[in-house]
């Protein structure tokens, strides 16, 4: 999912950086100091999820979980993912430095969209409905992210078209796995700690 430095055209980099600054500003505004540990935890979980490798046939995929992060954090997903991606870039050399803005938008904007699209669904009183919305959120976030990665490549040059298409195809298994995993995680959190997903406890038992 990470794009490296040097691949994208300058206007794409600039737009990505501007969107990230805006997103992070909104996120920081909505996040008060009491909320900070929760955001930090999710930022760390995003980092850890990238080393949970699940086998798919002969290959393996790793989790991204931006859907789950979006469902839990809303706009605060922007600062959370900025911090996680920054740490990855600086200490592990994943992705690049100037391209950070584009990478953050590509992963965090879908998270925020999932928050608005599926947030209501997962607080439904029926666990089955909630699981379906959770799966839609998990898989949907990856679909949106890959589409955005593909777009940032395509906007940087016609020659990237094939690479952009391949990125999408290569991530179809990730979408499926992510959907199931997010659904299960949503189900569990609903039972154990519903306020984490901004669900009122009363609606669970109403």
């Amino acid at each position: 999912m990470h794009i490296v430095d040097g691949a994208l055209a300058v206007p794409v980099l600039a737009v990505g950086a501007a969107l990230t600054v805006a997103g992070v500003a909104i996120g920081l505004k909505k996040m008060d100091y009491d909320h900070l540990p929760q955001v930090g935890v999710l930022s760390a979980v995003f980092f850890i999820a990238s080393y949970v490798h699940l086998p798919i046939g002969f290959s393996s995929v790793h989790l991204i979980l931006n859907g789950l992060i979006g469902l839990a954090l809303g706009w605060a997903a922007f600062p959370a993912l900025l911090v996680a991606l920054f740490l990855q870039a600086v200490f592990f050399g994943f992705g690049g430095f100037l391209v950070l803005g584009v990478n953050v938008v590509n992963i965090a904007l879908p998270a925020v969209m999932v928050y608005y699209l599926c947030g209501k669904g997962i607080s439904s009183s029926s666990p089955k409905v909630a699981a379906v919305w959770g799966a839609a959120g998990g898989a949907g976030a990856i679909v949106l992210t890959t589409v955005m990665v593909a777009f940032s490549l395509m906007l940087s040059g016609e020659a990237f078209l094939l690479a952009a298409k391949m990125t999408f195809v290569a991530h179809i298994p990730v979408m499926i796995v992510e959907g199931f995993v997010t659904a299960a995680a949503v189900l569990l959190i609903r039972k154990v700690k519903p306020e984490f997903l901004n669900i009122k406890e009363s609606s669970e038992y109403a």
């Binding site: 760390a44 080393y51 992705g95």
Partner: protein, 260 residues
């Protein structure tokens, strides 16, 4: 893709990663952050092969000066290459232009080849300098340096919290995985695996969050009011001025070379 190549950063050792003290470590952390940023801007915006080759050389030089662990650095650079390998391989074939060579009936264009080479050079120059100058800082020092550079307070707090939780959550994850393994759980491609991993992630979040609430309470109990105090006064020393005296003219030279 073999697993060890797919992810070099498989475990966060954060503060515990040791490296030998080097010339680079004597430099002011703020200066290192600023220099890397400038260097990244210059290399990424350059279009000349001379500049980019020089950039990669300087990246290598910085890595040598910082005495980076060769094996670890190589693994990270290779991991980065994995992100872009398809992009770079396909580029010569998808760019129109005069043919340089043909593979299985597909012709690779010179323009595409040069473009691919340029991406490779840029990415490597940036990643090497980043790992050498900033990657050798401890995460806490980096956070403080960013705070001194007027990065928003909340963002720096978040960074410091995240660094702390990486340790905690990483250990929690390993503990829970070991418990699953003790119950003969094996990862497969099926619903059972996905559901179990989903529960694992959910439980991980719940555990960590409860822990973070306890930490928050403990901090409030000791008078935390949403502010960290930065005790380390960072000051520029002779080393820093010497480094600037070398590096800034070099950057200007790189910019100038673009217009030759």
């Amino acid at each position: 893709m073999p697993q060890f190549l797919e992810h070099s950063g498989t475990s966060w050792k954060g503060q515990k990663v040791k490296h030998d003290l080097s010339v680079i470590d004597k430099l002011d952390p703020r200066l290192r952050v600023i220099m890397v940023t400038l260097f990244a801007f210059v290399t990424v915006l350059s279009e000349s092969f001379w500049v980019l080759s020089l950039g990669v050389l300087v990246g290598l030089l910085l890595a040598l000066l910082a005495q980076l662990n060769v094996k670890r650095t190589l693994r990270r650079v290779i991991a980065m290459d994995m992100f872009m390998i398809f992009l770079v391989i396909m580029l010569p074939f998808t760019t129109p232009g005069e043919a340089l060579f043909t593979v299985a009936g597909l012709s690779a264009s010179t323009a595409g080849f040069l473009h691919a080479l340029m991406i490779l050079l840029k990415a490597h120059a940036v990643v090497l300098s980043l790992l050498a100058l900033v990657g050798t800082l401890s995460a806490t020092t980096l956070g403080h340096a960013l705070a001194h550079l007027r990065v928003p307070d909340k963002l720096v707090h978040l960074l410091l919290f995240t660094v702390r939780y990486l340790d905690v959550i990483g250990q929690e994850y390993k503990r829970m995985r070991r418990a699953m393994q003790a119950r003969a759980f094996v990862l497969r491609t099926d619903m059972h695996t996905w559901r179990s991993i989903g529960y694992l992630i959910g439980m991980l979040l719940v555990h960590s969050l409860e822990r973070s609430e306890r930490i928050m309470d403990a901090m409030k109990c000791r008078g935390y009011k949403g502010q960290f105090y930065l005790f380390d006064d960072m000051a520029l020393g002779t080393h820093d001025y010497r480094f600037m005296a070398l590096f800034l003219p070099f950057l200007c030279g790189l910019i100038g070379l673009n217009f030759l």
